[in-house]
Symmetry: C2
Subunit: 221 residues, 2 copies
DNA sequence: TTATTACTCAAGTGATTACTTGAATAGTAG
DNA sequence: CTACTATTCAAGTAATCACTTGAGTAATAA
């Protein structure tokens, strides 16, 4: 009978996945990997970690089965090992947001100082874009945009926004999006645009969620 | 601009939830709490931990926003803080099962030694039960059964199964279920029944998943 | 009142984790 | 071949974690 070992072993295995999610830097790496395949030094740079440290975090994620990697030339590219990992990350964010007062407050205070407009829902964005009422703005880096973006969206990475304001029609409302509901790129973009007199809003969440929801996706060939 | 702190703080908060999921004992407690409200010593007993240790684990789960508690008389009852926690646990299990060879192997070897029959899907169970073709057997303890069970299911806790075999119709197939896809009660029950010559199978997962899927639920008044 | 129960808190210990530093490996370029 | 780049490995340290022990706190019972 017993089976106490089976149970114990099983929960220990589940805990390995939990452990992989138990560190802020690893979660940041995961969110970044969720956008597209990433090399180790890209990841190290964006998360502000050393190569060695990043490599170790990636090893943990890999051993937990959350990411896989392939080697191409000198570089090693990491990606999520499946869509279920996106679901898991989303569940984690959702739970954190619903039950942790600290997260609510953090997002709240950031939103009110940066973005007084309510974020826009996905379907609403598609409708307004189809009617030519809004300009959809993808503020992610070029490679991410190329890997897949919201149909009709134009790509101006955040750091280029200031010098490309002329490309935008001041009469149209601008809807910015980036990597996810907690990616700060879109917040910053909206802040900058509103500062320059544009009417700007954020998409309710980011591109991975858009794709996940089964909305249409355009790629650059 | 900056906002590096916002991002960092946000991921740290998310990691708090991950940390809560990073220990096997805590996951076991969570799965047990997912069934119904539980007192601390019930939880300590089932997980084989000391009271103090259990209490500390529960504090971690509470601070991560995964459970809440209420005091009634001497006892403190813990429960999940929302359905989104069930979703999170399910995502964790799913990811672990899909990507961790160890889990696959563990479940596989356990299934093949204990349960040669394939588990039964939810809707299929309802259909067959409605037609009177199967006996649905809830092998969880009485209190859990009372808190909610599959309509028409009879309750025989695992330890009473041997002495209550006469209550079961040998002509009917028996479908057993318990707390979840990895709860060992149903495995053991099926093993015992098949040992006694019954035709027995497991429900594909357990009662929380049944409830979660919006299937009908019966309670004992 | 004292005793008992159910639980939490606090201090201590060994194990694990995150990160750093420096060396090792593998693939590419000259 | 050597030089260089991207990555991993290995060793060390400070911080954190899991668990134990023993004391402390409410709520109930005698």
């Amino acid at each position: 009978m017993s089976s106490g070992n089976f149970k114990h072993d099983l929960f220990s295995q589940f805990a390995r996945v939990g452990k992989a999610l138990s560190n802020g830097n690893r979660l940041e790496l995961l969110e970044f990997i969720a956008q597209a395949e990433r090399s180790v030094d890209e990841l190290a740079q964006v998360a502000g970690l050393t190569m060695a440290n990043t490599s170790q975090h990636l090893r943990v994620l890999k051993q937990a089965g959350l990411v896989t990697c392939r080697k191409e030339g000198l570089k090693v590219y990491y990606r999520l090992s499946g869509d279920d990992v996106l679901v898991l990350l989303d569940a984690l964010r959702t739970t954190a947001e619903r039950h942790l007062a600290e997260v609510k407050q953090l997002v709240q205070s950031y939103l009110t100082t940066r973005d007084e407009l309510e974020p826009l829902a996905r379907q609403e964005l598609l409708d307004r874009a189809r009617d030519g009422l809004v300009t959809v703005l993808d503020v992610r880096p070029e490679e991410e945009y190329a890997a897949g973006h919201v149909p009709g969206a134009i790509n101006i990475p955040l750091q280029d926004l200031e010098s490309h304001l002329a490309d935008l029609d001041p009469k149209h409302e601008v809807v910015a999006y980036c990597r996810g509901p907690h990616c700060i790129l879109a917040f910053d973009a909206v802040a900058k645009l509103r500062d320059k007199g544009f009417k700007a809003a954020r998409l309710e969440d980011g591109f991975p969620e858009w794709r996940q929801a089964g909305m249409p996706v355009e790629t650059t060939h």
